[in-house]
Structures are given as C-alpha cells and as structure tokens.
C-alpha cells in the first residue's frame, strides 16, 4: 500500500469513527455513555487535526474537548442524575431526517465547489496569525473565559433571599410548615420530581 492510500485510509477510519461515535452519543439511553462517546468523537477529531498539521489546535481540542468538557459533564450528571428520559421529539422524525439531509446536501454542494488546491503565496504560521492578524480574537477569548467564570459563579450560587426562605421553618401546632418559593417554571421542585417519577412508573407499566 503506497503512502497516499494509507493516509487516505487513516483519514477515512478517523472520520468514520467520529461520525459513528457522534451517532451513538446522540442515541445512547444513558447520559454518562453519551459523554464517553463524546470524548471519543473529540479524540478522533483531534487526531484528524494533528494529521492535517494543526498541532496546537489538536492539543487544545484534546485537552479541552476530551478532558475539561468530559469532567464538567460527569460533574453535572452526578448532580442532576443520569436521567436521560427523552419524551419524544416535538417534530416528527421523518421531517427531522429530511431537514438534516437537505442541510447536509446543500452544505456539501457548496463546500465541494470551493478550491481544493492551496493558493500560492506566503502562508502565515499560527503564531503570527493569532498574535498579529487576529489579536482581537485573543482578547475576545480572554473576555469569554472571564465572563464564563462569572456566569458559572452566578448560576451555581444559591440566591440569598430564596435560600433564607427555603431554610425557614415555622411551627404551626403539631406540623412544621416549610415555605417553598415559586420557581421559574411555576412548579414546586418536590412536586415536579414526584410528577417525573410518576411518569416514569407509567412508562414502565405501559
């Protein structure tokens, strides 16, 4: 087997692995398994990036995509629970398949009409492109990371007022009344959880 054929075979295997793992991540019943498949997609994409010569991007993709995001997903699953109950799509599946195929065909048609031969001229390396031509992107990345951290602190922090209300218990004769503040979805969390469990039991019996 000559070198271009072997190279094409490696690309083909990596692309197929990425697509298959992505499909499994979408269809898997457990979210934890979906997370593992997502890490596999990230690893396959990182290997393709490395073979394409994008070494720095491959390292970032592998460390962030397969590492950080997987850890964050596992943490979220440990808090939320591995509940992948997905009550059917809003739109019919044949319509979704048709729309997806239409999008892929249109994008493929446009992408294959692009020039595939490298243009002649000086090619700027990544360092020069990132720190001189796209320096605004670097600043935007810093702002994004900073705002992301602030957003996480704001989202994961318990509100002082609601926390005080949740923690307040009043003695009403023999009973202890616990005040539960109204939620954004208009549901009492305990009632909502009980409703979810009831639906799950109905599904099992059906």
């Amino acid at each position: 087997m000559n070198t271009p054929m072997a190279e094409a075979a490696i690309y083909l295997i990596l692309a197929a692995a990425a697509v298959i793992c992505a499909f499994r991540a979408m269809t898997e019943a457990r979210i934890l398994s979906s997370t593992i498949y997502l890490a596999c997609v990230s690893a396959a994409v990182a290997m393709m990036l490395y073979l394409l010569g994008a070494y720095q991007v491959a390292v970032i993709e592998l460390s962030v995509g397969a590492g950080l995001v997987t850890v964050l997903l596992v943490y979220a699953i440990s808090v939320v629970g591995d509940d992948a109950s997905d009550p059917g799509p809003v739109i019919p599946r044949p319509v979704a398949v048709g729309l997806t195929l239409l999008t892929a065909v249109m994008l493929g048609y446009m992408a294959y009409s692009l020039p595939t031969k490298p243009l002649t001229g000086r090619v700027a390396p990544l360092v020069q492109a990132l720190w001189k031509q796209r320096v605004l992107d670097v600043w935007v990345q810093m702002v994004l990371i900073f705002s992301g951290v602030l957003g996480i602190l704001g989202l994961l922090a318990e509100g002082k007022l609601s926390h005080a209300k949740i923690g307040r218990h009043e003695d009403n004769g023999h009973k202890t009344v616990r005040y539960v503040p109204p939620t954004a979805c208009g549901l009492d969390p305990d009632a909502a959880r009980a409703e979810v469990r009831g639906k799950e039991k109905e599904t099992v019996h059906a």
């Binding site: 979408m26 991007v57 979220a76």
Partner: protein, 101 residues
C-alpha cells in the same frame, strides 16, 4: 479521494448527526452534548478550509477561538441544567418552557 475531501465528509457527517439530534432531543444535557458535536464539525471545517485556501494559520486561530467559545457555552449550559433540575425537577426543555402556543 484526498484527505481534504474525506475530512469534509466527516464534517458533513458530524453536522448531520448534530442537526438531527438538535431537532429530536429535548433533554437539556443531551442538547449540550449535541452542541459539542456540532462545534467539533465546525472546528474541523475551519482547519480544512484554512488548508484548502492556503491560509492554515488563519483557519487554526479561528478554530482555537471557536473551541474556547464552545467550552464557555458548555459550561454555562451545564450550570443552567443544574439550576433547572434543582428548581423544576426536570431537564426536559418542553416541561420547563413557559411559552404555550
């Protein structure tokens, strides 16, 4: 087939899976996972386009920016999912929506 064409096929496959998943999935955490798949196809497409156009550095720098932005989207989306689960007891997008029409 050249590596660029094979990579483009992979991009289209990932994009198709992501689009279909976004249309049929209502679980908030799974939506975050599917968004990750979509962005991986975008990163690969940027690097491939940079290679094809002879501006590899530009494509790679844009891909790095997209990876950072995507990570922030995942972080905020997961934090949102945790809060929604705590307050509503569910991560079903249709259950937590207050819009009825």
């Amino acid at each position: 087939m050249t590596p660029l064409q094979i990579g483009l096929l992979g991009v289209l496959g990932l994009l198709g899976v992501g689009c279909y998943g976004l249309l049929v999935t209502r679980n908030l955490i799974k939506v975050v996972i599917i968004l990750q798949i979509l962005v991986k196809s975008a990163v690969l497409a940027l690097v491939l386009a940079g290679e094809a156009a002879g501006q590899a550095g530009l494509g790679q720098s844009l891909a790095a920016t997209v990876i950072v932005a995507d990570t922030m989207v995942a972080v905020v989306g997961l934090a949102l999912a945790v809060q929604v689960r705590r307050r509503c007891g569910s991560v079903d997008l249709s259950a937590i929506s207050t819009l009825r029409g």
